[in-house]
Subunit: 242 residues, 2 copies
């Protein structure tokens, strides 16, 4: 095995490279929610420079001694009060002048969640935190508009090949609710009977002995997504497809 160079050499090299070590790194979170009708994204209003007063997605600089994955959860919690939810990395944006205060490369994560489970509360330098329909987005801070667009197209693609959608629904849901969600995300229509058959044939849903309540028509059966089964199936080469 090859030896690492002695420590003094490293320090020497590092001095030569000092000009390269003036980047900031930030994390930004695109958090998707769903209100039963529209796909939404969590935005904050900035109470600090730059872009004071602008809408933005939750994000902030990474601490010098902090993994980016860890920073994401801290930042999201600090700004919006959301707890430790599952975030997946989307992409990194590294254009030179994307941040007015210096060179900042941002690592973008995204998450999907059931709106009814969490209520965002602004804190730290976020003066507001609320949900916004995708088609009502206006100008935003930095390149956040572009970031959201990329997250949406990623979501559209991914939702067809992986059972992501369930994270946007309550734990117990009807097939019609699931179908409505897919129709919203993918902007299409499915045949009711065929959608049902397709989804049920995957055996990824556990039918419950409970029915929908408070509807003015025949109530539908409630289902729950079978996470464990899904992981078993993909082990065996199963491909999810809507």
């Amino acid at each position: 095995m090859v030896q690492l160079q002695a420590n003094e050499d490293l320090i020497e090299s590092r001095k030569r490279l000092d000009a390269y070590f003036h980047f900031g790194v930030s994390v930004d979170c695109v958090v998707f929610g769903y209100d039963g009708e529209n796909l939404q994204v969590l935005v904050i209003q900035r109470g600090a420079a730059p872009y004071l007063g602008f809408e933005a997605i939750p994000g902030d600089l990474v601490h010098p001694e902090e993994d980016t994955d860890v920073a994401t959860k801290r930042v999201l919690h600090d700004l919006t009060g959301l707890p430790d939810i599952y975030l997946e990395q989307l992409s990194t944006f590294g254009a030179v002048h994307r941040h007015p205060m210096g060179r900042v490369v941002t690592v973008v994560y995204y998450a999907l969640l059931d709106k009814n489970l969490y209520r965002p509360k602004p804190s730290s330098w976020a003066s507001e935190a609320y949900w916004k329909n995708l088609d009502e987005l206006g100008e935003m801070a930095f390149d956040h508009r572009e970031i959201i667009e990329k997250a949406i197209s990623h979501l559209r693609y991914k939702v067809q090949h992986q059972p992501l959608g369930f994270e946007l629904l309550a734990e117990e849901f009807t097939l019609a609710q699931l179908q409505q969600l897919y129709e919203t995300i993918l902007n299409t229509n499915f045949d009711k009977g065929n959608f049902r058959k397709k989804i049920l044939s995957m055996h990824l849903l556990i039918p419950l002995e409970k029915m929908q309540k408070e509807v003015r028509h025949r109530p539908a059966r409630l289902y729950r997504f079978d996470q464990k089964r899904y992981h078993q199936l993909i082990q065996g080469g199963f491909l999810f497809e809507v």
Copy 2:
């Protein structure tokens, strides 16, 4: 529209945040090649500290005034002589101690190419540049081993839903070559006749009036991938599936 804060305020904020601006950002490239039998990855041997003498994937620090996308092409060219090929961003690795010389967050890109078209030549601080079979990888510099693993599983996934594989073959190829490639990447076997029918039924291949040469048996027809047709089809909601 909200006004940006005055410039002096920004400078003041920046001073408070200076501790956050000591990151380095690097780019790393996982370049896949295919020799007709094995899937391979382009590695260099490091001729500079740290990890002097170790194998690594081509990568280096991003310049202060350089987009990450641009840096990738520069770095790959500087180290291996490869020209401006198409690279796609894979993921970003941001663990605190992944680089011994300081905090370096790396943005990883990957590319697929036909080995016969380009011959890597080491330069700059790369003392060697060569192809290596995936199953012959040993210890590598930094977290590059982990990076390659992630790139492989990404490739395996992606190749099933997008016609990526063609970039690993010569421009003109036979159906058997294409099948062999898919079998290698996905580590399965397809029925010859059925694979042929499936692929041809997508109408993504242009049959040429040319035949394979220099084989000791009946020569096969050559095909070319129809990039234009593919883009038309996905516009209309077409889903590629092997």
